[in-house]
């Protein structure tokens, strides 16, 4: 595998994904997570949510595409952490844009630490999101 380079402060190409209810249904089927808060407004509102929300793992998995698109080979990803800070509310009609960006936060011992940002409107939906990528 060829050597990659990364410099602290380097920005990775950003990504925007529009999430719709169909995307939530597809992720529910692919992951086996059929919690009704991801497809039933009454269930979501019953738990005090404004409406149906995206699976946290769908947001986390999509956010990592910023890293895997950049490094090319997903097997370079050694570690990944996120806090789920805000729910992504997905409307019944149309969709909601989630914007993902990444910055190289550290490089040491052949591993780059990428800081990932995920924004929905003006809200950060993931906190402390970081991935470790093997460069060598």
């Amino acid at each position: 595998m060829s050597e990659m380079t990364a410099e602290v402060g380097q920005h990775l190409p950003a990504l925007t994904r529009t999430l719709t209810r169909v995307d939530l249904a597809r992720y529910a089927g692919a992951s086996g997570d059929f919690n009704p808060i991801h497809y039933n407004d009454a269930a979501a509102e019953g738990l005090g949510l404004p409406g149906v929300i995206a699976h946290g793992m769908l947001t986390m998995g999509t956010a990592l595409r910023v890293v895997t698109d950049w490094c090319g080979d997903p097997s370079r990803v050694l570690g990944y952490y996120v806090r789920f800070t805000r729910p992504v509310v997905v409307p019944a009609v149309g969709g909601v844009d989630v914007r993902f960006a990444g910055t190289v936060a550290a490089v040491a011992d052949g591993v780059a630490t990428i800081s990932i940002e995920a924004m929905c409107g003006e809200e950060k939906v993931l906190g402390s999101a970081t991935a470790e990528v093997r460069l060598g």
């Binding site: 692919a30 992951s31 895997t68 990944y80």
Partner: protein
Amino acid sequence: MPISDAHVGRSYPATAPYEVSRAKIAEFAAALGDADNPAYAGDDPIAPPTFAAVLAAAAWDGLFDDPELGLSLSRMVHADQRFAWRRPLRAGDLVSATLTIEKVRVRGAAAFVTVAVVLSTTDGEELCTASSTLVHTNEVAA
């Protein structure tokens, strides 16, 4: 007795082996909007890294099925998630998941439960550790 730090260290039996398939990898990559990544296609694909969460979540059932803990999935919120991979999951891997309770913090009606799920092949090769903090809110008597 509800969950408390007395339960730290408790482990549950490994889940039944799950065979990672090319079709499931393709389906999961498509669900992430990432069907075009060549690593997830072809004869010998790897799974998208966060596919590990699907297998880890199967081990969470051990918690909800343990009557001593008094936990219910419908009162649980996923607060954070960490993965540490040794190598990617590949089509053909036979994987089982073993859950251990790592940390419990109780604050009023809320219990913060950190679990570590180790994914291993049936040959004993460790692939990934998926750690999650789950916040469980007990029903508060009116």
